[in-house]
């Protein structure tokens, strides 16, 4: 999947993956996609909830060799 930017949040614990995601997405244009790599298992539900409350969309997520990957489209 095409993304404008990749954020490496691997090895970071809550709240840092979302703090960094929030910063990164602020630099994008509406409609652009941010790809996030994380290892904190709590990230999945929190990113989903955060995206929804912020008007963004979690368009895809997958797990690959213990790395959680997310694609969030800026709203």
């Amino acid at each position: 999947m095409k993304s404008e930017m990749v954020l490496d949040a691997k090895g970071l614990a809550c709240p840092m993956p979302i703090v960094k995601t929030k910063k990164a997405i602020a630099g994008l244009e509406s409609g652009q996609v941010l790809e996030i790599h994380a290892t904190d298992k709590g990230a999945k539900n929190d990113l989903q909830a955060w995206a929804t409350s912020g008007g963004h969309e979690l368009i895809k997520h997958e797990e690959e060799a213990n790395v959680l990957k997310f694609w969030i489209q800026k709203g």
């Binding site: 614990a13 809550c14 709240p15 840092m16 979302i18 703090v19 929030k22 298992k41 709590g42 539900n45 929190d46 909830a49 955060w50 409350s53």
Partner: protein
């Protein structure tokens, strides 16, 4: 800036003492609604930490100034993050050490009193209250020996406790194959050389050796011979077994709770097992002395805790007050325990397989599997 950590044990004491506490839970709304720290005088405010990244000004007005405030998240990182911002805003708060993970894993040992009062050594039953998840396990102690029933995966807690008390664990029982939490029974038996007992009807698929826990099995604890007598009482599972300890206590496993009864569906056989459940509750238990003190393997709601934090009630009180023991019509009973059941526990199939020895998930995965409240009962 460092903020004050409050341990799960301190929160437990506040809960048992019915003290007030204001909980700012910064997990996402779904996680909060699914499972939270409940206490009679605990108040809650749920604001996800990701709504507070830019500052806490918006919630300052919602926080009381006249009582303790505890910030809670899943593991603790986000609660420290929020607590630090609140401290900077001039508010004094604590965060829950190790978050809900620590809350789920805390076991509070509560002595239920002595056994065999005529003996030289007064034996004792200790209830380990897993306050965050509602799981109850038991250590029966007499003259340097101890028997464990329904131990959780926090095996060090029991081993350390036995060490402190100077007792040797000789037998470890699981009343049934658990579906809501990972048993520590086998590991404790391996570490101490104790015998690990399981009901064979629940153990048809297990991958390890065990002693067959069947009706009439009797073990002695210590020289004064505290009796632990097994009583076949199926219904929650086909193998579910109760224990009568010293003729005074009835350990009911997941068959009978204080304010509810066991659910028969967690192995997928509600229709088959409802008759067994009925028989155990309405026949087997009624043939026992109603002066026995019931000690279940779970509590569901905080109201089931006694003033000292223990969960125990006389059988005759339950026979009078527990709704599940007072449904005369068998058909109504059948409907109640097979229809409108609460959601099944998180990952209960994986938990069953872990307890069978078919899976050996790492600690982090075990924690994830056990997330959430207890859901073994029907009310």
């Amino acid at each position: 800036m460092s903020v004050n950590a409050m341990s799960a044990k301190e929160v437990t004491r506040k809960l048992i003492n019915r003290e007030p506490l204001f909980i700012l839970d910064v997990r996402n709304a779904d996680a909060f609604q699914d499972w939270k720290i409940e206490g009679e005088n605990f108040e809650h405010l749920n604001v996800p930490y990701f709504d507070l990244i830019d500052g806490v000004d918006e919630i300052l007005g919602d926080l009381p100034t006249d009582q303790d405030i505890l910030v809670v998240c899943a593991k603790e990182g986000s609660s420290i993050f929020v607590a630090e911002m609140l401290e900077e805003a001039g508010r004094s708060v604590s965060y829950l050490a190790n978050g809900m993970k620590g809350w789920s894993e805390h076991l509070e040992p509560i002595s239920l009193g002595t056994l065999n009062e005529t003996g030289a050594d007064r034996g004792e039953v200790v209830q380990f209250v897993r306050i965050g998840k509602g799981c109850l396990s038991y250590m029966i102690i007499s003259e340097g020996e101890a028997v464990l029933v329904d131990a959780t995966r926090m095996t060090d807690t029991y081993l350390d406790y036995a060490n402190e008390r100077g007792v040797k664990i000789t037998h470890v029982f699981d009343t049934h194959l658990h579906a809501d939490h990972i048993s520590g029974g086998r590991e404790i038996a391996e570490k101490t050389g104790a015998t690990y007992w399981l009901p064979p009807k629940d153990a048809t698929e297990v991958t390890f050796d065990y002693a067959a826990l069947e009706d009439g099995v009797n073990v002695k604890v210590g020289d004064t011979q505290i009796d632990v007598h097994a009583l076949y009482s199926p219904g929650h599972t086909i193998g579910s077994t109760s224990f009568v300890v010293d003729g005074r206590y009835l350990l009911t496993g997941d068959i009978l709770f204080i304010d509810s009864i066991g659910r028969p569906d967690l192995a997928g056989l509600a229709e088959d097992w409802v008759g067994d459940l009925r028989n155990s509750l309405y026949k087997t238990y009624r043939e026992l002395s109603d002066e026995l003190i019931v000690l279940p393997a779970h509590f569901m709601i905080i109201e089931e805790l006694n003033a000292d934090g223990s969960v125990a009630e006389k059988l005759n009180v339950l026979l009078a007050n527990n709704h599940g023991l007072n449904i005369e019509d068998e058909e109504v009973f059948r409907k109640m325990v097979t229809e409108n059941l609460p959601p099944q526990p998180n990952a209960y199939q994986d938990i069953r397989e872990t307890n069978m020895g078919k899976m050996t998930p790492d600690l982090e995965t075990q924690r994830e599997m056990e997330v959430g409240p207890n859901r073994c009962a029907v009310r």
